[in-house]
């Protein structure tokens, strides 16, 4: 019994070690929330990311079982014009942090399978350039949340 589980245990330990060596393994997510919009309109997702690793972590996408698509975007209101553009990736510097916050970087979450209600928690998986992922719980808040 013990002998039979040993390879599994070893594999598990290896995986745990590997997880820490990845970009996602060094990133800590906090204050994750979604601004829920009515009529299944696209919602904005926000999160603070802190990287305690010695290497930069490059966020290059996200996905969620609750939404058909999740895209990384950046808003700007330079020169008095409101603009939104797609962003390929966002680097969290080594021992640094980056915030996806209203009016700047954000996730655009589209095509919710079921309407998401304020108060619910939705899991969004953050994807990093080395293929590692970080599942993060996002709290759904009402449209007029600040």
């Amino acid at each position: 019994m013990i002998l039979r589980s040993l390879p599994l245990l070893l594999a598990g330990l290896l995986c745990a070690g590997a997880a820490h060596a990845t970009q996602a393994g060094h990133v800590h997510a906090s204050d994750a929330w979604i601004r829920v919009m009515p009529a299944n309109l696209p919602a904005g997702g926000y999160v603070s990311l802190r990287n305690d690793g010695d290497q930069p972590a490059v966020l290059d996408g996200a996905s969620s079982a609750a939404y058909g698509s999740v895209m990384l975007h950046q808003s700007s209101t330079d020169t008095g014009m409101g603009r939104m553009r797609m962003v390929d990736s966002l680097t969290v510097p080594a021992h640094g942090q980056v915030a996806l916050a209203p009016g700047g970087y954000h996730f655009m979450l589209m095509d919710a399978g079921k309407p998401v209600q304020p108060g619910q928690t939705v899991q969004v998986v953050l994807h990093f350039a080395d293929g590692s992922t970080l599942g993060t719980d996002f709290l759904a808040k009402p449209a007029n949340a600040l």
Binding site: M37, G80, M81, P102, A143, N144
Partner: protein, 200 residues
């Protein structure tokens, strides 16, 4: 007379004097950008979020906060509308005489029904206005507000850029103030209160 009551009376007299003084030289202590006399009065022909045709005249007697946007805008438009909701809440009951007019620059997708759901998610004093591209262009040109539509992507999605300013009109429909989305809530509360007080 109790000292507290006396102090209150003096304060009231002082305020009255200050207001008279302000009115006399026509200058009010605005914190936002004063555009009085530099922009035309509020005028448009559009459709409200109940599907009813409306004009600028229909909002005379109300202080109007005019803002251009679109409902497929998940970040800056909701942020601005959430801020305006917070400002109206802080102004209190008096803000029931104010209307946020959220004008769509994306009439292809923004039907009155979608506009209705969208604006009501923010504030019951917000009105969603949409119209034909020509009608909307006429209003945005009137206030030198620009918007562009980026070329469609393969999935039919497209992005819209739009002027992010908020225009404030007094109860007579005169353009009075201009706020950027970066304007502080304190400044907006201050000026909106003043506009509601003085524009009767």
């Amino acid at each position: 007379m109790k000292p507290l009551r006396l102090a209150r009376l003096i304060l009231l007299l002082g305020l009255a004097l200050l207001l008279t003084a302000c009115h006399r030289d026509g200058k009010l202590p605005w914190r936002l950008t004063d555009i009085s006399g530099h922009m035309p009065d509020l005028a448009f022909q559009l459709t409200d979020d109940h599907g009813k045709p409306v004009t600028g005249e229909d909002y005379r007697g109300k202080v109007v906060l005019l803002y251009f946007g679109y409902t497929h805008c998940p970040d800056v438009c909701p942020l601005t509308l959430a801020h305006l909701h917070a400002v109206l809440q802080r102004v209190g009951a008096k803000a029931d005489d104010a209307r946020i007019l959220f004008v769509s620059v994306d009439p292809a997708r923004d039907t009155p029904a979608i506009m209705h759901a969208y604006v009501n998610a923010f504030d019951k004093r917000a009105v969603g206005l949409t119209g034909t591209p020509r009608e909307l262009e006429a209003l945005s040109k009137r206030y030198r507000s620009a918007f562009t539509r980026e070329p469609s992507q393969a999935n039919g999605q497209y992005e819209v850029s739009h002027s992010s300013a908020i225009y404030l009109f007094d109860r007579q429909g005169h353009a009075r103030l201009l706020a950027t989305p970066a304007a502080s809530q304190d400044d907006l509360v201050h000026d909106l209160y003043l506009l509601l007080e003085t524009g009767t």
